[in-house]
Symmetry: C2
């Protein structure tokens, strides 16, 4: 079974300034805006069929999103794939020689866990694997 | 109704060199590889749930993909959304002040038409609107 694309993360300077394009002009339905304090970002999720567009705005100068925009400008930040067996997926990527940014899945709130793969391994694309967090690990 | 993400285009130096990552390590099913001579690219489509990952390899030095990689390196090249009423969608984006790269939808083969929106309008993201081509236009 292939993996599903859960969402596309897009780094933006300001969600408020970006919504007229993504919601009003392009016509994607806004689902939710919330803060993720651990990542120092505010995120807006927009419906794009069976996947989402996630607009990411830094809430602090040392946020990974602030650093990304400083280096590369606004744009696509990462692709996130559902990986129900996240440990198996990580092992498979390691076996293929990919450089993982997380040794073990990190808790990302909402009962979810994630692991990131370095963009150097994936043709310049930062990939996130995403799964339900195990009860204990 | 929100628009669906049809595919994410990723510019790569070589599809052959990229497949071990996207297909074998990440585990996306390879659906099709074909050439699009009009765009001077070879494309590989991989299944990612209700959307696709489209790996794009230049087949000529003056291919838009070759120029993109020269400027930015490998990475996400564009996001493509289904826009059944492509003329209405283009009008809506124009009304919102977006800069369109196509005055009218261009034929892209397979009975499909597309229009691109400049990344400067969309937070650094090149957006493609995608629809069935009208019988005559």
């Amino acid at each position: 079974m292939s993996k599903s694309l859960n969402h596309v993360g897009v780094a933006v300077q300001s969600i408020e300034a970006a919504l007229p394009y993504w919601r009003d002009s392009l016509g994607l339905q806004l689902l939710e805006i919330r803060e993720v304090p651990s990542e120092r970002v505010k995120v807006a999720f927009l419906d794009a069929g069976q996947t989402h567009i996630e607009l990411l705005e830094a809430t602090a100068d040392d946020s990974p999103i602030a650093r990304f925009i400083e280096r590369r400008g606004e744009g696509v930040h990462h692709l996130c794939f559902d990986a129900p067996d996240i440990h198996g997926s990580m092992a498979c990527m390691r076996a293929g020689g990919a450089r993982l940014l997380d040794e073990t899945p990190r808790a990302v709130g909402g009962g979810k866990a994630a692991a990131f793969i370095h963009p150097k391994s994936g043709n310049g694309v930062l990939v996130e694997l995403y799964a339900d967090a195990p009860p204990t690990d």
